[in-house]
């Protein structure tokens, strides 16, 4: 069980959180993209071997949605890689 830092509550057990999936592409204007682009937006999410930015919800806590960078190989919560936020 991971130890996740909520921006408001500090370090809490993973069991207090709900995983909200990786941070994917920004939602495009659905009327301005092709079918292929829309399907890609819907179905292709980041799944790297290494750091990935993820959304987490402190559902059994303060209710905040926030993002962390997690290394998928180790479960280590890491700094945002250079050039990202």
């Amino acid at each position: 069980m991971m130890n996740i830092t909520c921006p408001f509550c500090g370090k809490r057990n993973e069991s207090e959180f709900i995983h909200g999936g990786p941070v994917g592409a920004v939602r495009p204007d659905p009327n301005a993209v092709s079918d292929e682009e829309w399907v890609e937006y819907l179905t292709v999410t980041p799944n790297p071997l290494g750091p990935v930015q993820e959304k987490w919800w402190h559902a059994r806590g303060c209710g905040e949605w926030f993002s962390i960078w997690r290394d998928t190989r180790t479960h280590d919560i890491v700094e945002a890689p250079d050039g990202t936020t």
């Binding site: 009327n31 819907l42 949605w65």
Partner: protein, 956 residues
């Protein structure tokens, strides 16, 4: 009763406290401080088990969690299966049985498997059970070779519990290294959590006869324990196994026999800053022909029985080694008056300081144990020179073996920290730490006491590896994994058949997959693979170490989280009334307990449901709608937000008005349906289905916080702030008037799909005109503290109108008659609003909303879809099973639909059904066919509505 192998003095047992126990039905005596294993040995019980696969006779080989041979099943209060006899503390009245043998280890019918052994090679399970199927073989295999049965019922008394804890340092193991680490951390003021699997602290010092600084090492242990006891910042647990090392330094500890009445076991979840792994080392077995014969033991275990439990496992010993550690064992045994016939040491030269410890014992260098005599007990061992030669037999009744020592790296490795093969120690040792942990003492490869505790006095460790004895003339099987009956020939077979990765070898042979996880034998499997492939051990590597380190009872893992405590039920203030009035209670989504129906005495389900439905259709009924998910949304941007999450337009609603809507997910599937009401300019109330309330809340919060953080919308969950009694039926208005309300209830002043605030029965109330039954309906929302009183009032005032309480069974009938969709019935993750005949809910005006593009995309491919229709069997009394498939012509073909609901309709006096049918909208009036196993039911396809198709009643 005579404990014939018990020494007159010595050992950490209390001879003044005899304990009586039974083993395989016979009564024996042991002492306080014994384990079941030490007590059995004290009583001279040699044959204690039969092996898993071949039913070979086995005895006790080890003295702790590494024990591979003797598993027992405990009866009575202690009922549990597959416990190593070495880890069962003896207590008065204990009753234990061997597993794997029937009727007894001496006379075991399953022993016939030994004769069949050449037909039970490695991979036997895979080869045999893939055809025709495993279930054919399972019963006989379970009986012949299975392990113990699970207890049939939970413990008669006591319970399990769980605790959370935090510490700066967790130390696993209270041997010399663990105690030393605890003293240092404790003195530095750190919060220390020290947990050790043994009954008392001291680790290997309890088994050995060593000195520290000129005093007995056990005096040092006693001082250390006393000092730790005096520190408030130290938690010290014995009988507590650290069995899992999880992410971010979360450690799971199983404490047995905690000092609290009624608690059987306690599971600790400890989040710590640093982990100190002081888990010691485990002695490994030697691999030679018939190395599993009763009387072949680990050398250190023989030493432990003599020193710690005052038991001499035999009279005439031979020791077999490849390292220095057995010389101290031999010295201890000699000091205890045992006859040590010889030490066989495979090394060409034995270090002189080792030989010096055993001046009166013959030491045979460059000699191995090549064979063993005695099927049910060792009678002699054949000493064979490694350089060749015939060898000679030496009579003995116990053969103590030491194949060297493995640092106990299980926790280290569970943390994902790496291992390296140390050539000097011939063992895998901790290498790079991945989490914040360090290994100390023997677990780190420091196998000499002085390097752990200053002043420790023992012989320096040295070893030359011997992975298996390879001399001519060995006849018997040479076991690598005694528990799972895996021999050298099995590993060779696996390699020949191409399973040459160590993980494959493990799974193909099952080597190391017993409950001992191969603590004494895995390294020999790796060594055997390395020898056969001609590569170094580092290259072969280890299999993955997984938790639990030792078996943990399911009860301890579950703790108090069992039965209703796992997911408590949710109740409304009407629950007690429902029970008092004979309701059959159901779980109705999201753990709400709701009434299913209210049978009168002697009445069945269908009669009760018919009575309730008739009341709603012809008079009046009332149900408790409190569990519906309810949210209040406030803020400037709520209209924009609702227009985005609902498929239709909500922003045009005037205060006091509401609208039904569908919520879609971005991929175009139906997420939920419900209603939205505008309370005033900036306040809204929406309701969701009961089971999806949490999912909808997550959905909305996620959108607002991650996609639209600048939108001003605040969501408050008010499901449990407002309870409601929903009065429905043609007489609903009259009843509500009689209950007394200051709201103008006339249809003109308070039309369908609107909302009014006022008082009802004197309580502040929000009254909403929605209908899930198709009848005139008022949902009267009040604060929970007023709900019971409101309910009583409605029932009292409604009595002259014939009001009846309505359960969820009737609600289902009423909504099916109207063709109102139900998530999970008509909405299954493939259908969209058009399929349900609800295209009107998909706004054409809005350029964008969640799911719009995806629904368009999905429908753009053309082709037919499964669409919601009504179905009527020719015979009105024909019930159609819900879930039954429809097939073309009723033939055994791919389905073209399924029945989603079928209910007895009181208003139609017949069964009516709903179905999702391929191209259903175009097939109205046609005949379709429900295909049952042995029958076909022709049905007429209709519109999915069987009552008041114009919707006049609900608007009345």
């Amino acid at each position: 009763m005579v404990q014939r192998n018990r020494r007159a003095s010595g050992g950490r047992i209390d001879r003044n406290r005899p304990l009586h126990f039974t083993f395989n039905g016979k009564l024996y005596e042991g002492f306080e401080g014994d384990t079941l294993a030490s007590a059995l040995l004290a009583n001279g019980i040699r044959l204690t088990a039969r092996s898993f696969k071949y039913h070979r006779p086995r005895s006790i080989m080890g003295h702790g969690v590494e024990e591979p041979a003797t598993l027992v099943e405990l009866d009575g209060e202690d009922a549990s299966g597959n416990r190593p006899a070495t880890t069962v503390p003896l207590r008065d009245g204990l009753s234990a049985r061997s597993v794997n043998c029937w009727p007894s280890p001496e006379f075991d019918l399953g022993g016939i498997n030994q004769l069949l052994s050449r037909f039970i090679p490695a991979g036997f399970y895979y080869k045999t059970f893939k055809w025709p199927n495993w279930h054919l073989f399972e019963p006989s295999i379970r009986r012949a070779a299975g392990l113990a049965a699970a207890p049939e019922s939970p413990p008669a008394s006591g319970h399990f519990e769980a605790r959370n804890a935090h510490a700066d340092v967790l130390i696993a193991g209270a041997g010399p290294a663990g105690l030393q680490a605890a003293l240092e951390a404790g003195r530095a003021g750190k919060r220390v959590f020290l947990a050790d699997e043994g009954a008392e602290a001291g680790g290997s010092l309890l088994n050995r006869n060593l000195s520290i600084g000129g005093r007995s090492a056990l005096d040092w242990v006693e001082d250390a324990v006393a000092e730790l006891r005096g520190m408030e910042n130290v938690t010290h647990l014995q009988n507590a196994t650290v069995w899992a090392y999880r992410e971010h330094n979360l450690m799971i500890v199983n404490e047995r026999e905690p000092e609290l009445d009624g608690v059987l076991e306690r599971s600790w979840r400890v989040r710590v800053g640093e982990v100190v792994i002081a888990t010691g080392a485990t002695e490994r077995a030697m691999v030679f022909g018939d190395n599993d014969r009763p009387g072949v033991m680990l050398a250190s275990s023989v030493q432990a029985y003599v020193n710690r439990w005052g038991v001499t496992p035999g009279q005439r010993m031979v020791l077999f080694t490849n390292n220095n550690s057995v010389y101290a064992v031999a010295a201890d045994l000699a000091a205890a008056g045992m006859q040590v016939e010889a030490i066989l040491d495979c090394r060409k030269t034995v270090p002189p300081e080792a030989v010096k410890l055993v001046p009166d014992i013959p030491v045979h260098a460059a000699t191995v144990a090549g064979d063993v005599r005695g099927r049910k007990g060792v009678r002699a061992v054949k000493a064979v020179p490694v350089t060749g030669g015939a060898g000679r037999w030496i009579d003995c009744d116990v053969l103590g073996c030491s194949g060297g020592w493995n640092p106990t790296v299980h926790l280290w490795s569970q943390s994902r920290s790496t291992l390296r093969f140390d050539e000097d120690l011939a063992a895998f040792v901790p290498d790079e730490a991945v989490q914040n942990c360090r290994a100390v003492g023997a677990a780190a490869g420091d196998l000499t006491l002085d390097r752990i505790v200053g002043g420790g006095e023992d012989l320096a460790y040295a070893i030359e590896p011997l992975w298996r004895v390879n001399v001519p003339g060995q006849r018997g099987k040479a076991f690598l994994d005694v528990q799972n009956d895996v021999s050298v020939s099995d590993v060779h077979l696996a390699l020949r058949e191409g399973y040459d990765n160590v993980e494959h070898v493990k799974r193909y042979t099952t080597g190391g997959m017993g409950i001992d996880q191969g603590k004494t034998g895995n390294i020999n499997i790796i060594g055997t693979v390395a020898m056969q492939k001609g590569v170094p051990l580092q290259e072969v590597g280890t299999t993955t170490f997984r938790s639990p380190y030792t078996p943990v009872s399911f009860g301890a893992i579950g703790g108090l989280r069992e039965g209703w405590r796992l997911f408590p039920y949710r109740h409304t203030p009407v629950t007690q009334w429902n029970k008092d009035h004979g309701a059959v209670m159901y779980e109705a989504g999201a753990r709400w307990r709701r009434p299913g129906y209210f049978p009168k005495p002697g009445e069945g389900l269908q009669e009760a449901v018919n009575r309730e439905c008739r009341a709603v259709r012809e008079g009046v009924g009332v149900y408790d709608g409190s569990p519906l998910g309810t949210f209040e949304l406030k803020g400037r941007d709520v209209p924009k937000f609702l227009d985005f999450i609902y498929s239709n337009i909500m922003s045009t609603l005037k205060p006091g008005d509401g609208r039904y809507g569908l919520m879609l997910s971005e991929d175009g599937l139906i997420l939920d349906d419900g209603v939205a009401f505008r309370l005033d300019e900036h306040r809204w109330m929406i309701s969701t289905s009961t089971g999806h309330a949490d999912a909808v809340n997550q959905h909305m919060e996620k959108l607002l916080q991650t996609e639209f953080p600048d939108w001003q919308v605040l969501i408050t969950t008010v499901t449990s702030q407002w309870n409601n009694a929903t009065i429905c039926g043609p007489k609903a208005r009259e009843v509500l008037q009689a209950v007394d309300s200051d709201i103008d209830l006339s249809p003109e002043a308070f039309p369908f799909m609107s909302f009014r605030e006022g008082t009802v029965a004197g309580f502040p109330a929000r009254v909403v005109r929605v209908s899930f039954t198709g009848e005139l309906s008022y949902e009267v929302n009040v604060a929970p503290r007023h709900m019971a009183a409101l309910w009583d009032k409605v029932m009292e005032v409604g009595a002259p109108f014939g009001i009846l309480p309505v359960g969820s069974e009737s609600s289902h009938v009423l909504r099916v008659e109207k063709g109102f969709l139900s998530l999970g019935h008509e909405v299954d993750g493939t259908v969209d609003a058009y399929d349900l005949g609800m295209g009107w809910v998909m706004s054409k005006k809005k350029p964008d909303y969640l799911g719009k593009r995806s629904v368009q995309l999905r429908r753009s491919g053309g082709g037919t879809r499964r669409e919601l229709v009504g179905i009527l069997a020719d015979d009105p009394n024909q019930q159609i099973p819900e879930g039954a498939p429809l097939t073309p012509g009723g033939r055994k073909e791919a389905t073209d639909g399924l029945v989603t609901a079928c209910v007895w309709s009181v208003v139609n006096n017949r069964w009516v059904g709903l179905a999702l049918l391929e191209d259903g909208h175009a097939r109205q009036g046609e005949t379709a066919h429900v295909r049952l196993k042995d029958d076909v039911i022709p049905v007429t396809v209709t519109k999915p509505v069987f009552h008041d198709p114009e919707g006049k009643l609900l608007r009345s």
